[in-house]
Symmetry: C2
Subunit: 203 residues, 2 copies
């Protein structure tokens, strides 16, 4: 019995991509094999064969969504080891990315996985929320001076920026009010600036 399960394979990747775009449209909450199979031009039999189980499928989809997330994070990294353009500048770029309408399905999917992992502490979702929090705190930390990175105040800074971004995102997803949420985020970044910048290092 081969049961590849998680082994990469041309066919598997192809179906994963189609299932991923299906999940982006329909969500993960009531994802079901037969409708998914019909939409991706396959069959429940094949999906189970290629992914081992439905849990395996969901895990693969979550991992696939995470690939998109990590791609964004890499894009945001300063690249070189230097301290980059500052926490506020990075936050502004992140918010720009978050407000792009084409990213809305991905963000909704992410929110779905996030809260689901809060309830189902086991299963495929487990640890998803925790993982994304750590991912983002890590990447935000690369934007602040290295001497702040380890201090509690520095970690609080990153936590705060992340909270603003996530909270504003939740608002945006619910209301669609880009102007109001963007104004809130920028108000925060303006207020954050004098805190982040050490005296003498501004501009």
């Amino acid at each position: 019995m081969p049961t590849p399960g998680s082994t990469p394979s041309a066919r598997r990747n192809e179906l994963l991509e189609r299932a991923y775009s299906y999940a982006l449209q329909h969500g993960l909450a009531d994802l079901s094999l037969r409708p998914l199979a019909a939409a991706t031009g396959s069959s429940p039999r094949v999906l189970l064969y290629l992914f081992g189980s439905k849990d395996g499928l969901v895990r693969a989809l979550l991992a696939r969504a995470r690939v998109d997330e990590l791609a964004l994070l890499d894009e945001l990294r300063p690249g070189d080891g230097r301290s980059g353009a500052g926490l506020d500048a990075m936050a502004a770029r992140v918010w720009e990315w978050l407000t792009a309408p084409s990213h809305r399905p991905l963000l909704t999917l992410w929110a779905e996985g996030y809260v689901r992992s809060l309830v189902d502490t086991d299963g495929p979702w487990a640890g998803f929320a925790r993982a994304t929090v750590d991912d983002w705190l890590g990447v935000l930390a690369t934007a602040q001076p290295s001497d702040q990175r380890t201090t509690p105040a520095g970690r609080a800074q990153c936590t705060l920026v992340l909270a603003v971004l996530r909270g504003a995102l939740l608002d945006l997803l619910a209301t669609g009010d880009v102007d109001r949420t963007t104004a809130a985020v920028h108000a925060q970044l303006a207020a954050l600036d004098p805190i982040t910048a050490k005296p003498g290092t501004s501009a």
Copy 2:
């Protein structure tokens, strides 16, 4: 055929309370009639009779959760028509409430309904996210000077405070790190103070 559906009734309220506490423990995502009936000492038959349908039951549970939310909001209102103690003081009180361990199940349930309503635009969840955003923005607005309440900058202020609270809450629910998230919220409130207060009115 009576089919009370949403008519109040002693028995209905009793079962609603029990179903509510069950939902707080197990979540709403995979709520199912038979296990719920077994846990509440009733039967699927009775639940359907008293709530009309499963959607009616979920709607009742969501409304019940909203009662708890609105109770908190009323508690936060200054009471008299005056401007209260300021936006930052109110936010600090809200955060205190959010971090209370006993409120964690309610907050998780709320998060569940929130993102669910982002995906299922119809069904029992519809509009839940939007409603809570409006509720909270409304109550936060009562804490700021009346001349700021209508300006875009004032609305951005409330949006920002709400975003910080919600974002930090998401972080807290995922990581359980009360210290770090509280530090972030308080850092924000400290930075918010000089913005909110008009020059000359500070202290």
